[in-house]
C-alpha cells in the first residue's frame, strides 16, 4: 500500500507538470485530492494496511496530500501570473510613434529677437512705445534734423503716400513723438516695421527696427557705450568683442556705428563680414541739440543718446540665415525651424 502511495505521488506530479491550463490543474486536484479522488480512496482503504504500518501510512498520506496541494496551489498561482503577463504583452504599444497632440506653433524669428531685445533692455528701465508706420515727413525727417534738399535724405530711399506723408524709413520718429509729450527722464524703446524702397538679397522693402532713446541730465557718450556693450553682450554672448567707430546720422552727434566681431569667423575675415572681421550691428549717438530744439528740451541741461538696430540683421546672424527675403515669404518649412 505504501508503494501505491509513492506511485500515486509520482504520477500526480508528472501530470501536474504536463498541465497547461487552469482547468487541467483544477481537474488534477479533483482527480487526486477531491472527495472521490485517488488519494482519498487510498486513505479510505487504510483498514487493509497492517496495523504496524498504519501510523506510517497515515503520516505518508498526509505528507502526499500536503505536497500535492502545495504544488497545485503553486502552479495555479504561476498560471495566474502568466495570464496577467500575457495580457500586458498583448496591450503593448509602439512607444516610438510620434505623440498625438496639437503641434505647438512657432513665433516668427523676427518677433523672437524683438522679444529678447525688449526684455533685456526692460531690465535697464526702458519702456516700449509704438508709433505710426505711415508717418509725417516732419517726424520722419524734419524734426530729426534732415531738412528737405539735404543730402542725408539719400541715405534712405523713401516710399511716399502724398506730399508730406511717407512710410517711415526708420523707427526714429517715435523719439520725437515721445519727447513732444513727456519731459525727461526718458527711457524708451520703439520696435516696429519700417519701409525703404529697396529690394534684393540683402534688402526687403519692409523690415523691422528697434529704436532706443535715453534722455536725462548728465548722460554721456560713455553711458551710451556702457549700455550698448552690456546689451550686445547679452544678445551675442559675454565674450563678444565690439568696437565703436565714428559715423554720421543727422539726428545724433557724436554718432557711432557699433560693430561686433564676426560671429561666423571670429574676426579672421569671411564672406559674411566682407573679410573685415567685423559686423555692423547698430547705429547710435548723442542726441543732436537740433533735435532737442524741435521738442523744446533745454539742450544745455539734458543730454541723451539714441540707438537703432535692424531686427532681421540680428536674426540672420543669430540663426545663420543668408537671405533676408525668407522672413517675409512665410514658407512653413522656414517658419517651423524657429
Amino acid at each position: 500500500m505504501i508503494e501505491d502511495l509513492q506511485e500515486l505521488e509520482d504520477k500526480a506530479i508528472a501530470e501536474l507538470q504536463e498541465a497547461q491550463t487552469e482547468d487541467q490543474i483544477l481537474s488534477i486536484r479533483t482527480k487526486y485530492l477531491g472527495r472521490k479522488g485517488l488519494l482519498t480512496g487510498l486513505l479510505r482503504n487504510i483498514s487493509q494496511v497492517p496495523d504496524a504500518q498504519k501510523p506510517l501510512f497515515g503520516k505518508r498520506c498526509n505528507e502526499v496530500k500536503e505536497l500535492l496541494s502545495a504544488r497545485i496551489e503553486e502552479k495555479l498561482l504561476y498560471q495566474f501570473q502568466q495570464k496577467k503577463e500575457d495580457a500586458l504583452i498583448k496591450e503593448k504599444i509602439d512607444v516610438t510613434l510620434p505623440g498625438r497632440a496639437v503641434k505647438y506653433g512657432r513665433i516668427h524669428p523676427v518677433v523672437q529677437v524683438n522679444m529678447e531685445i525688449c526684455s533685456i533692455l526692460a531690465s535697464y528701465g526702458f519702456s516700449v512705445v509704438e508709433g505710426p508706420e505711415v508717418e509725417l515727413d516732419y517726424y520722419n525727417f524734419e524734426a530729426l534734423n534732415i531738412p528737405k534738399d539735404h543730402p542725408a535724405r539719400d541715405m534712405q530711399d523713401t516710399f511716399y503716400i502724398e506730399e508730406g506723408i511717407v512710410l517711415r524709413t526708420h523707427t526714429s520718429p517715435v523719439q520725437v513723438r515721445v519727447m513732444e509729450k513727456i519731459k525727461p527722464p526718458v527711457r524708451i524703446l520703439s520696435p516696429g516695421k519700417v519701409y525703404r524702397r529697396d529690394s534684393d538679397i540683402s534688402h526687403t522693402p519692409m523690415f523691422h527696427q528697434i529704436e532706443g532713446l535715453l534722455v536725462e541730465e548728465r548722460v554721456t557718450f560713455g553711458d551710451l557705450k556702457g549700455i550698448l556693450t552690456a546689451f550686445l553682450k547679452k544678445v551675442f554672448g559675454d565674450d563678444t568683442k565690439l568696437r565703436f567707430r565714428p559715423s554720421f546720422f543727422p539726428f545724433t552727434e557724436p554718432s557711432a556705428e557699433v560693430d561686433i566681431i564676426c560671429v561666423m569667423c571670429k574676426g579672421k575675415g569671411c564672406r559674411v563680414c566682407s573679410h573685415s572681421g567685423w559686423l555692423e550691428i547698430l547705429g547710435a549717438g548723442m542726441v543732436d541739440p537740433e533735435v532737442f530744439k524741435f521738442v523744446d528740451y533745454d539742450y544745455e541741461k539734458y543730454n541723451g543718446f539714441a540707438f537703432g538696430l535692424g531686427l532681421e540683421r540680428i536674426a540672420m546672424l543669430k540663426y545663420g540665415i543668408s537671405d533676408i527675403r525668407l522672413f517675409f515669404e512665410n514658407d512653413n518649412r522656414f517658419l517651423k525651424q524657429f
Binding site: R245, P289, N332
Partner: protein
C-alpha cells in the same frame, strides 16, 4: 569713393601698411568698405641687362640679344632698334604673360632660338611709348620683378564718405585726414601758372545774374592747346578712381576735381557766342542738350551757364554738347565756381542727373578753394596739351559765402557730453591737427575757427565730435547711467499680444509676417462692396511693383496668398496667424488710421501626424481657439452673429464676432467664388479681430468667487425645435429668466435624422442647479426647472422629446 594709396602718397607720407591705414581711417569715421590690390596687367616680367646685341644672321630687321637676369643668360630675338649693350630693359621670360592675354613661349625666329621678349611701354601697358624697348633707370638691379622695381602695384580703398564729410570727397581731403591721424604734414601740390601776355579780360567777360544760386564764378583762358590722349600718369590715376579717360583737357578737369574736390568745366571757346558767360536761372521749358547727348526740356529756376545767346551748361551738374571740348578744340575757357548746394541738389534730383560734380556741390565745396583749383587745372592743361595760359583770371564773387568763425568750445561741456576728461592742451592739439585755428584760449574754453573746407563744422557740438572722434571712441570709458524712472506708460495691448501669441502657438498656429503692401486688385478678389471702408485704402505714390502698391486694409488677402504659396511648396495643412497693422485712409493730408489686428488661417487636415486618422479642420477648430483667447483675456459678453457680414466668407459658415454689441471681427470659411477667383485649391477658414477694441474689453485680473460646498443637481432635457433655431438662442432663452439657482446650461447633444421630423432637430440641454448654502431638494429644483422649461416652450415652440 575709390582712393588710390599711391595717389594719396603724393600728398602725405604713409609708412603704415594698407591694412593698418584702412583700420585707422575706419576707426576715425572714414569707413573703408573694401581694400583692393591693383596689380599691373603683366606677370613674370623682370629687369634685365643687355650683354650684347648682334645682327640676326638670317633677318635684316632683327637682332640677336644676349640678356642677363643677374644669374642666367638668355638669347632673345628682338626687332627694336633702340637697344645697345649695357641697357637695362624689361624682359618677359618664357612663361610670362603680357596684356592681351599673351603668354611668352620659347620659339625659333628665322632659325634662331628666342627665350623671351624685350618689351616696350605700350606692350606692358605702363606708358605710351611704342617706338622701342623701354629703357629702365640704370640703377635697377637685374632679376628684380618689374612691378616691384617700378613700383607699379597699388592699393585702392573704397571709402564710404558720410554726407557731412564733403571735404573728404577728394584725395587731398583724405590725405589731410591721414596726416591728422598719423601726425604727418600734408604736402600740397605746387601750383605754378606760367601766364602769357594776352589778358583774359580783353577776351571774355562773366556776368552773374543770380548771386544767390551762384555766389562765385571764376575762369581762365588757355589758348592753342592740342587735344589728345592724356599721359599715362593721369590715366592711371583716373582709372584707379574709376573714371574713364576722355581726352587730356577733360581728364585734367576730372583729375583736379578728384585731387581737390572742386568740380571744373572746360568750354570750347569758339562756340561761346558773343564771347561771354552769363549765369542765370532757366526759363520754363527751355531746351538743352547735355554732354551725354540727351535733350531735356528744363523746369524753371535751374541754374544755367550761358554764352551771349544760349545755355552752354547746367551749372554745377553737366556741360552742354554745343560747347564740348573736341579733338580740334584750340582755345578753352576753364570754369571753377561755387554753386548753392540746395539749388544744385534740387536741380540734380529734378533732372535725375546725379553727376560727380553735383554730388560735390550739393554737399558743399570749399568756397576758398575755387581759385587754387582753377590755377592747378590751368597749369596741368598747359603742361599736357601744350597751350598758353592767358594773363590773369576772372573771379566774379558778388556774394561772400558765409564762413563760421570763433566757435566757443567749453572744456566742461566736452566732458559732459563725452564722459571723458581730455586736457585743454590735448584738445587744442587734436583741433590743430585738422587745421582748426584756435584764436583765443581762456580758462575753461577756447575759440575755434574751422578751415573753410570743413563746411560741416558750425557749432560747439561739431567740435566736440571732432575731438572725441580723433581722440578715439575706444578710449572713452564705458559707464552705466543711474537708474531713473520715466513717466511713459506702455500700451496694455503689448502684454495682451504676447499672451495671444502663446495661445495661438498652443493651438498649433505659427506666426507669419507678411508685407504691409498688397495689390490694389486684392479688394476685388475679396469682392468688397463699393462702400466698404476697406476700399478707402492708402496707396503708395512710388511703389516698387503694382503687387506692392497699397497698404493693406485687411490681412485676409495676405493670409490667403501665404496659403497658396505653401500649397505650392507642399504644405497644404496650414495653421498660421499674424499680429500686425491694417491701414484705412482718413482725409487728404492726414495720417491714415492704423489698427492693430490679429488674423488667423486654418486649412487642410486637423493633425499633421501621418499615422493617426486625419480629420479635416473646420469652423469649430478655429472657434475653439478664439474662445480661448477671450477666456484668457477674461473678455465677457461675446456674441457670434451669423448674419452675412463679409462678402468673401461662406454665407452659411461664417459669423461676425461682437463684444458687448460692438463688432470686433469675423470668422468663417472662404466663399467658393473667392477661392475660384484666386485659384486656391483648399477650403480654408480665416478670422480677423481688431486688437485695439479687444484690449478695451480685456480685464485679465479675475475676481475669485467662493466654491460651493454643496452638490449640483443636473437635469437633462432634449428639445425638438425648428432647424433654424441657433444653439446660442436656446441657451440665451434658457438663462434669460434670472434664476438664482440655475448655475449654468450647456449643450450635451445635437441630433437630426431618424425619429426626428424633417426640418427639426433635437437639442439636448443640461441644466445645473446649485445653492451656495445648502443641498437642494428635488422639490426646490423642480419648481425652478419647470418654470424655465415653460418659458422655453412658450418662446420657441419647442417640444420636449419623449413627451
Amino acid at each position: 569713393m575709390l582712393v588710390s594709396l599711391k595717389w594719396l602718397k603724393d600728398y602725405v607720407d604713409i609708412s603704415l601698411t594698407p591694412e593698418e591705414l584702412a583700420d585707422k581711417l575706419t576707426m576715425s569715421g572714414l569707413e573703408v568698405e573694401e581694400v583692393k590690390k591693383v596689380l599691373p596687367r603683366f606677370t613674370g616680367v623682370i629687369v634685365a641687362n643687355i650683354l650684347s646685341v648682334k645682327p640676326h644672321p638670317n633677318a635684316d630687321k632683327l637682332s640677336l640679344c644676349q640678356v642677363s637676369d643677374g644669374k642666367n643668360r638668355y638669347q632673345v630675338v628682338c626687332g627694336a632698334k633702340n637697344i645697345a649693350r649695357g641697357d637695362i630693359v624689361p624682359f618677359a621670360r618664357v612663361g610670362a604673360t603680357i596684356p592681351g592675354d599673351y603668354t611668352i613661349k620659347s620659339s625659333l625666329l628665322r632659325g634662331e632660338k628666342s627665350d623671351g621678349m624685350l618689351c616696350s611701354e605700350v606692350e606692358l601697358d605702363i606708358g605710351e611709348d611704342a617706338s622701342g624697348i623701354m629703357q629702365l633707370p640704370a640703377n635697377l638691379k637685374p632679376g628684380q620683378k618689374l612691378e616691384k622695381a617700378l613700383d607699379l602695384e597699388d592699393t585702392v580703398f573704397d571709402i564710404g564718405i558720410t554726407p557731412n564729410r564733403s571735404d573728404c570727397l577728394s584725395m587731398i581731403g583724405v590725405a589731410r585726414e591721414v596726416a591728422a591721424l598719423t601726425g604727418k604734414k600734408i604736402k600740397m601740390p605746387k601750383v605754378r601758372v606760367v601766364e602769357g601776355s594776352e589778358n583774359i579780360k580783353s577776351l571774355t567777360s562773366i556776368k552773374i545774374m543770380d548771386a544767390e544760386l551762384c555766389p562765385r564764378y571764376s575762369a581762365r583762358m588757355i589758348k592753342n592747346i592740342k587735344v589728345g590722349q592724356s599721359p599715362s600718369w593721369i590715366k592711371n590715376r583716373l582709372e584707379a578712381a574709376g573714371i574713364r579717360s576722355i581726352n587730356n583737357v577733360v581728364d585734367v578737369t576730372n583729375f583736379v576735381m578728384l585731387e581737390t574736390g572742386q568740380p571744373l568745366h572746360a568750354f570750347d571757346f569758339r562756340f561761346l557766342e558773343k564771347r561771354k558767360i552769363i549765369v542765370r536761372k532757366s526759363k520754363k521749358d527751355e531746351e538743352f542738350v547735355s554732354l551725354d547727348g540727351k535733350s531735356r526740356k528744363l523746369a524753371q529756376n535751374i541754374l544755367l551757364i550761358c554764352d551771349g545767346v544760349k545755355p552752354v551748361a547746367i551749372g554745377g551738374i553737366m556741360g552742354g554738347l554745343n560747347s564740348e571740348v573736341k579733338e580740334d578744340t584750340k582755345d578753352i575757357l576753364l570754369e571753377s565756381a561755387y554753386f548753392n548746394p540746395v539749388s544744385i541738389r534740387r536741380s540734380s534730383r529734378i533732372l535725375q542727373m546725379p553727376t560727380d560734380a553735383a554730388f560735390r556741390f550739393e554737399r558743399g565745396i570749399d568756397p576758398e578753394g575755387v581759385i587754387r583749383a582753377l590755377n592747378r587745372a590751368a597749369q596741368l592743361i598747359a603742361e599736357v596739351s601744350g597751350g598758353n595760359i592767358c594773363k590773369n583770371y576772372i573771379d566774379e564773387y558778388p556774394r561772400k559765402i558765409p564762413s563760421i568763425k570763433n566757435i566757443k568750445l567749453r572744456y566742461e561741456r566736452l566732458q559732459e557730453v563725452t564722459g571723458t576728461k581730455i586736457s585743454p592742451r590735448d584738445i587744442q592739439k587734436i583741433l590743430r591737427s585738422i587745421e582748426m585755428e584756435i584764436s583765443r584760449t581762456q580758462k575753461g574754453f577756447c575759440l575755434v575757427t574751422p578751415p573753410t573746407f570743413r563746411v560741416d563744422i558750425t557749432r560747439e557740438i561739431d567740435l566736440i565730435e571732432e575731438v572725441i572722434r580723433l581722440y578715439g571712441y575706444d578710449k572713452v570709458p564705458s559707464t552705466i547711467p543711474k537708474f531713473s524712472s520715466t513717466e511713459v506708460k506702455e500700451n496694455p495691448l503689448l502684454k495682451y499680444q504676447s499672451r495671444i501669441r502663446n495661445i495661438m502657438n498652443g493651438f498649433g498656429y505659427t506666426e507669419t509676417i507678411n508685407y504691409s503692401f498688397i495689390p490694389q486688385g486684392a479688394m476685388d478678389y475679396l469682392l468688397l462692396e463699393k462702400n466698404d471702408e476697406r476700399r478707402k485704402f492708402v496707396r503708395l505714390s512710388n511703389p516698387l511693383t503694382e503687387d506692392q502698391s497699397v497698404m493693406r486694409p485687411t490681412m485676409i488677402f495676405s493670409m490667403l496668398d501665404t496659403l497658396k504659396k505653401n500649397i505650392n511648396n507642399g504644405s497644404p495643412d496650414l495653421k498660421i496667424f499674424e499680429i500686425g497693422r491694417v491701414f484705412i485712409s482718413t482725409k487728404e493730408g492726414k495720417l491714415p488710421e492704423e489698427r492693430n489686428m490679429l488674423a488667423g488661417l486654418l486649412a487642410g487636415a486637423r493633425s499633421d501626424d501621418l499615422w493617426s486618422s486625419k480629420y479635416k479642420s473646420d469652423f469649430f477648430d478655429m472657434k475653439g481657439c478664439i474662445e480661448n483667447i477671450f477666456l484668457d483675456l477674461n473678455v465677457k459678453k461675446i456674441q457670434y452673429r451669423s448674419a452675412n457680414y463679409e462678402t468673401f466668407l461662406h454665407p452659411g459658415k461664417s459669423c461676425a464676432i461682437f463684444i458687448n454689441d460692438k463688432k470686433i471681427g469675423f470668422m468663417g470659411g472662404i466663399a467658393p467664388e473667392v477661392l475660384e477667383k484666386i485659384d486656391l485649391k483648399s477650403d480654408p477658414y480665416v478670422f480677423e479681430i481688431n486688437l485695439d477694441i479687444l484690449s478695451g474689453f480685456a480685464d485679465n485680473t479675475p475676481v475669485y468667487r467662493e466654491i460651493s460646498k454643496y452638490p449640483a443637481v443636473n437635469r437633462d432635457v432634449a428639445f425638438i425645435i425648428s432647424q433654424e433655431i441657433e444653439a446660442a438662442y436656446m441657451l440665451n432663452i434658457a438663462s434669460s429668466e434670472k434664476e438664482e439657482l440655475l448655475e449654468n446650461v450647456v449643450i450635451f447633444d445635437i441630433y437630426q435624422g431618424k425619429g426626428i421630423l424633417e426640418g427639426s432637430k433635437s437639442l439636448g440641454l443640461r441644466f445645473s442647479y446649485r445653492a451656495h448654502d445648502r443641498t437642494l431638494t428635488d422639490i426646490e429644483v423642480n419648481e425652478v426647472h419647470d418654470r424655465i422649461l415653460r418659458n422655453i416652450i412658450n418662446v420657441t415652440n419647442a417640444k420636449i422629446r419623449g413627451e
